[in-house]
């Protein structure tokens, strides 16, 4: 668990680069430098990649839905959905446990289903479709927020550790390793139960928890970039000219590492959505009556056999959204790193 471990950064999807830490071994550093291509170049490359654009489209749709839902919830007090649709959290809108339109099985005949509730109603008689729509809001919000927390915290930690080196680096990086060694999900469960035993703000805590847990990933990424940037001439020059350290980090180091961080952040949003769905499923994330996909899956479990549709739709929503982020992340990575272009 020291700097000599032969891996430096973990990617959510497994496409981790293997690199021996820059400070211990210059070995693969040349490739590192080669891979560091500017952000604008990355974005131009991206325009040619249809799969990445598909990812971007999925993200745009999800984000648009999330924004509409947020405006409705926060500013309009559910006026929009209540007027044109149903209230996502309060019910009942119809009989409980209605099947989706046209669906039947040995427990439910199709005559019960209705076009008014195309995806059926849940155990409280709430419309499933409107709850799925609102679930997007929670997924996108937690995904982005937790990633921003991880990104900002991790970037600062990594930049400071990499820039100053020495004992500051040692302490911060050992801390990151310890944080790393405690399983992600378990760490967040413990944090949630410690900070919010009544689960009043469990979702918020989970979001922050996932953010904190993702900090080491960003910290390691930035740190290894800093090691290579630190030696660059213009940084030396800035230092010689008496520019403050803080300014150098903000002005030179961080912008220089933007492309790989963007890749990691995009993938991290997808991962965060998955993890928070898992936490909500276990009861440590979104709480009833909030409309979250993980929470809906939690409630679907006791009714798994008679009402299989309860579990199918939220899962597909998660899959669809996360695929969007992974597609864009892959596209960004390929664009940023010409070596592994397809």
């Amino acid at each position: 668990m020291s700097g000599e471990t032969p891996h430096d950064r973990r990617d959510v999807d497994g496409r981790a680069d293997v690199e021996i830490d820059a400070e211990d071994d210059g070995g693969l550093e040349a490739e590192e430098v080669e891979a560091r291509v500017g952000l604008s170049y990355t974005l131009v490359q991206l325009r040619r990649d249809p799969t990445a654009l598909a990812g971007l489209a999925i993200i745009s749709v999800s984000t648009a839905v999330a924004i509409v839902a947020s405006i409705d919830a926060l500013l309009l007090d559910y006026w929009l959905t209540q007027t044109f649709w149903y209230h996502p959290e309060l019910g009942p809108h119809a009989d409980t446990n209605l099947p989706p339109y046209g669906v039947s099985n040995q427990y439910y005949d199709a005559s019960r289903s209705t076009l008014a509730h195309p995806l059926g109603t849940d155990f409280r008689g709430r419309d499933v479709a409107v709850r799925l729509f609102y679930g997007t809001r929670i997924a996108i919000t937690v995904g982005f927020t937790s990633t921003v927390i991880g990104l900002v915290g991790g970037t600062l930690t990594g930049a400071v550790a990499g820039y100053y080196g020495g004992w500051i680096d040692d302490v911060l990086m050992r801390g990151a390793e310890i944080l790393y060694a405690i399983p992600f999900l378990i760490l967040v469960i413990v944090i949630v139960s410690v900070l919010d035993p009544q689960r009043q703000n469990a979702l918020l805590v989970a979001m922050v928890g996932v953010g904190i847990a993702s900090m080491p990933t960003f910290a390691r990424l930035i740190r290894s970039r800093v090691f290579s940037v630190r030696e660059e001439e213009y940084v030396e020059a800035a230092k010689a000219a008496g520019v403050k350290d803080r300014w150098i980090i903000l002005r030179h180091v961080i912008p220089n590492s933007f492309a790989p961080v963007l890749v990691q952040a995009t993938l991290q949003i997808g991962l965060a959505i998955l993890i928070i769905a898992g936490l909500s499923f276990l009861g440590f994330g979104a709480q009833p009556p909030q409309a979250s996909w993980g929470q809906m899956l939690n409630k679907a479990r006791p009714l798994l056999i008679p009402n299989p549709w309860f579990s199918i739709f939220p899962g597909l929503c998660i899959l669809f959204t996360v695929v969007g982020f992974n597609l864009l992340g892959d596209g960004l990575r390929d664009a940023a790193d010409p070596r592994i272009q397809n």
Binding site: I178, S193, V194, F281
Partner: protein, 358 residues
């Protein structure tokens, strides 16, 4: 030899990390606002009773003293004061305390649950590696051909699907609609039916029973394995593919081609071995993701493993149980990473020989 020294060094480096994990879990658990004694004894316990139990679990002592004692308890070797006398004696063995919820030693619960989780994880990683490695290699070799497209879509969906949801859907399809496979708990391969004991270890009958016992073991294992292993499978497929692609463009692979080595051998030998380095790394690091997945999978399939144990601990604010299980998870992770580092060093001579030059 280089490899042995490397392994020793890595093991020693793990000690401070484990110490850190122990510290974090201790302070996190003790920051839990709820009072476990209240949970244990119900709404209005008698004060004396409460105090007695506090004393029994050592909760009446100051935090720092409890921390020191805790460290001593969890370390295999420690120096402790004997009965408050000012001399110290070595203390051996690991003591994770007594679970408040179960009223039993935490080590006992862990001994009971750990093999279950290890079986599940081992099975999931075996499934992941056995499917992902060939898939990634073929995908890279047939780059941008239909096989590659299919395997990439599978991998993409795999990394984007919540593992617990896969579990739920598998139960619906295979346990309910098809009725092929059981949907709850695991059967341990070594928990043989009583008839086996009666037959005796040396009898043919014993081995017949033991062998037929493995059928329900496998049946129970299949769905949880797919549920937990899919994410790993997808992740490994992706990294295997990109690592193989990178290797296939290397000069030394081109050189092998220029010297008349067959494509198949290039794939199997020249490109394959160096391409396993990132795969080894990801398997080690993905252990943590898999632990999280294990909590979810065990919940979905009602398996009594470490994951459900830690959930029990958290839900009942059972400090010793939370601390013990987290510590064991951390320990396994650290050991797993060291093991992968050693395999890495075994594959890549540049690591074990230390004198890096390349």
């Amino acid at each position: 030899m280089g490899l042995f020294r490397y392994a020793t060094r890595r093991l020693l480096q793990a000690i401070p990390v484990l110490l850190g994990i122990a510290t974090i879990t201790f302070f996190l658990s003790n920051a839990v606002p709820g009072d476990p004694i209240d949970i244990m004894l119900g709404p209005s316990p008698a004060q004396e009773q409460k105090a007695a139990i506090r004393a029994k679990y050592g909760l009446d002592r100051p935090l720092w003293l409890r921390y020191i004692t805790y460290l001593g308890d969890v370390s295999p070797i420690w120096l402790s004061t004997v009965d408050g006398f000012p001399y110290v004696a070595p203390e051996f063995g690991v003591d994770l305390g007594r679970s408040i919820h179960f009223g039993a030693p935490v080590t006992e619960k862990i001994k009971e649950r750990l093999p279950v989780t290890m079986l599940l994880m081992g099975s999931a990683f075996t499934f992941a590696l056995v499917t992902a490695v060939p898939l990634g290699v073929i995908s890279a070799y047939r780059r941008n051909q239909p096989t590659d497209h299919v395997s990439r879509v599978v991998a993409l969906v795999g990394v984007s699907t919540p593992s617990f949801w896969i579990g739920l859907e598998l139960i619906i399809v295979f346990s309910f609609y098809l009725g092929w496979l059981p949907s709850n708990s695991l059967v341990m391969p070594w928990n043989l039916p009583p008839a086996a004991d009666q037959a005796g270890l040396l009898s043919v009958e014993f081995w017949r029973i033991a062998a037929s016992h493995q059928v329900p073991v496998l049946q129970h294992l299949i769905l949880p394995t797919i549920s937990l292993g899919t994410l790993q499978m997808a992740a490994i497929t992706r990294i295997e593919r990109s690592a193989m692609l990178e290797q296939l463009s290397q000069d030394y692979v081109q050189l092998a081609r220029a010297y008349g080595v067959r494509d198949r051998k290039i794939l199997r030998k020249h490109a394959f071995r160096p391409a396993q380095l990132p795969v080894i790394t990801i398997v080690g690091l993905n252990l943590t993701t898999a632990f999280g997945g294990a909590v979810l999978t065990e919940t979905v399939f009602s398996i009594n493993g470490m994951g459900t144990l830690i959930l029990t601990g958290v839900l009942n604010i059972d400090y010793p149980l939370i601390m013990g299980t987290t510590l064991v998870f951390g320990l396994i992770f650290v050991l797993g990473v060291i093991l992968t580092d050693i395999s890495y060093a075994y594959v890549d001579p540049r690591v074990s020989y230390g004198d890096q030059e390349a």
